[in-house]
Symmetry: C2
Subunit: 427 residues, 2 copies
């Protein structure tokens, strides 16, 4: 059953000064809401790196289902009528973050015509490009607060989000501790580790090295986008979102049964490599190519640069002595959810985060899901994410399905084929 968005649109929120000190004259934020607002039932959902405001299935998302990955109905297994985040009970709000490309102001947005930035009148000069101010998770959070004010929502029942959306959740607890009752960072951490920082940097390098990137000024008529660089960046990210075990189970070393040469020539425009034709084009490569190319068609390369930098830069403890100090003013309850096979945000990081909530004085449950789906688990295992989330929203850390560290769920039977749910990479 599809949810009916009670409100969807783009809010014009006026001048916005980013944490970096730079301003834009008009921040526009694309958002959707689901369910009726009763004054006390709002759940804000924070999307992941490349997500959008369309968190639940709607007539709009149905229209192009299967084509837009996380751009559409990215958590429809969890959010909707009767689902874990029940839109018949809660007023759900989801907004596209500043710097992204699904309707909220970002590098691909039009730059105000009266803003003199000393650029030549070259093609694409009417877009921000890399002149858009650097964006941080703090800015996302402040923009969401501004949007909620605009919508007439004060205090929030809960803020929920996965991956870097979980960092966005943490920033809510840190920045607006009195504005939210319950927070749920899912598959998240207080900060990225060196390995993830390294891979994100390599991904950005791929975009910048694409000759079509042109310093971020590729929006003009007749200018191709840096699709190759963005696709490469996405492939690196994609591997980070899957576990070694799930990749081995899903692909192994099987050949895709097609010619890599023909395919790559056709779809990527890369020069032919005679020596490559001898070797199989493997399923894992075919899958990653297909997903990455689809992604490169729908996502903006500059946004990818901006949003990964925001993720890399986020540090919960920034401005405080520790994570616990940063969370000390938060007096609500927290559910920290993590997945054993996740190497992007590990269970150890989640455990440390739960400890910080606890040390900061908040009731917290460190709910660890036994899974080998990797980071992607928070999207592809709604059967494990939904119940604790539902019960935590209703009853806090005492919720029936909410487990705390040390009381892991029993090992479960692994189906031959994992059920198909929307994932970080669905296309």
């Amino acid at each position: 059953m599809a949810a009916t968005p009670t409100d969807a649109g783009v809010a014009s929120l006026g001048e916005f000064t980013f944490e970096c000190g730079q301003s834009i004259p008009e921040l526009r934020v694309a958002y959707e809401t689901y369910g009726e607002f009763d004054g006390d039932n709002t759940v804000l959902i924070c999307h992941a790196l490349t997500g959008s405001q369309n968190v639940a299935r709607t007539p709009d998302s149905d229209a192009d289902a299967g084509q837009a990955g996380q751009a559409r109905a990215w958590w429809d297994d969890v959010v909707g009528p009767g689902k874990a985040i029940d839109t018949t009970a809660y007023h759900v709000v989801c907004a596209n973050v500043p710097g992204s490309c699904y309707g909220t102001s970002g590098p691909a947005s039009e730059r105000p015509a009266d803003l003199d930035v000393g650029l030549d009148e070259e093609p694409g000069h009417d877009r921000w490009g890399t002149l858009y101010p650097p964006v941080q998770v703090e800015d996302w959070t402040r923009a969401q607060r501004r949007l909620l004010d605009h919508l007439g929502v004060g205090r929030l029942r809960a803020v929920v989000g996965g991956s870097v959306g979980g960092m966005n959740v943490l920033e809510w607890a840190k920045r607006y501790p009195d504005d939210v009752d319950r927070v749920v960072p899912v598959a998240a951490a207080a900060r990225l580790d060196a390995q993830c920082l390294a891979l994100d940097a390599a991904a950005r390098r791929a975009i910048r090295a694409d000759p079509n990137w042109r310093g971020g000024n590729y929006y003009g008529e007749g200018r191709p986008s840096p699709a190759n660089g963005l696709a490469m960046a996405r492939q690196i990210g994609h591997v980070m979102y899957l576990s070694k075990a799930s990749m081995e189970r899903k692909f192994g070393r099987r050949s895709a049964g097609r010619d890599s040469l023909t395919r790559e020539e056709g779809d990527l425009g890369l020069p032919a490599d005679p020596a490559a034709a001898f070797f199989p084009y493997r399923e894992v490569e075919s899958y990653l190519d297909y997903q990455a190319e689809g992604f490169a068609e729908r996502f903006d390369a500059n946004s990818y640069l901006y949003l990964t930098r925001a993720m890399d830069e986020y540090d919960l403890a920034a401005g405080y002595g520790s994570d616990a100090d940063a969370l000390a003013a938060f007096e609500g309850e927290a559910l920290v959810m993590s997945f054993t096979g996740d190497w992007h945000f590990t269970v150890e990081q989640a455990s440390s985060l739960a400890t910080a909530f606890r040390d900061g004085g908040a009731p917290v449950a460190n709910h660890v899901v036994d899974s080998d789906h990797g980071h992607d688990a928070f999207l592809v295992e709604p059967e494990h994410v939904g119940p604790p989330l539902r019960d935590f929203l209703a009853d806090g850390v005492d919720g029936r399905a909410v487990a705390d560290e040390g009381s892991q769920p029993p090992a479960r039977e692994e189906p031959d084929h994992a059920p198909v749910h929307s994932s970080l990479f669905r296309d």
Copy 2:
């Protein structure tokens, strides 16, 4: 103490037909030998992906030490006078593999002038480029056998190698089971898993997407090499060689204290990104950039394509029903060495390999080193690699320092700073 190579040069081995069926009229193999041959004391060492024939420190490697990474003296902590592979006792042979770029025939080599391949007379047409035949681990092994015949060496005391060099070792046991007494695959596996295949494919894509790659024809006068693509590929590889824990310990999230913008503009020729300047250039990024750029200067991009494809393609069981069947004819002894923090070639893969030797009837020790250095451990932990290797060469699986699975070495004290040894990435 530096070893004196008793022989070093390039052997011309005549026409060579690769496993793919294609031939080259003259296979040249660059090699070095150390120690005196007594008819029965030869140890063949197989280098890793980007290694060279210069395995031990020599006057030649001293001359440009610190500049050439794995190109020079890449295992000098393990191989040399009095070291684990003692060049005063053994006759050590190491050869650069076909497809590489340290003197052995490969894509960067001159193509015979009389070989008509229908190319235009464009710059660089005198090099093989991607017209060089596809290379496989089997070809490396056959080329080594041919070289040893040329040198007058029949049966080998041992074949030792790490990483894909360990696959090369396995191929010796499979293809020439009667020619070798003892084999030591270190940090290796019978085949790559899907995760590593995916990352290798992304790395190759980075090279092919570099506009300077030009289908592999970049050798001509005035044609820049695809250094950006190769550097990106190397960065992906580099992360695969380190463990999450070692990266976190070594770099954390520290800033390098320099401006990424200035640096990247200067060294990579990438367009400036105003939004990037706001964020720190982190030590982990600086380190990977520095290492990758040094690597891109000394290694050939086409060779990187060729050698990673050989690694990806290798499957010990190919042509047999199983790994054990492939090893059944080998009647020597095997030491399989692996490292707990290695996610490129895991201890589980090593354990499976040891089982295959055992099932094939060979005495085997599955020696697991407790380490969080990742794949790189086989180069940076000579204090753990050396003793079992030394004792295995002397006494086989009964060697004193040789442990078998289940009898892991005791946990050791972690020094504040790891000792500096040559690594996959030293430059």
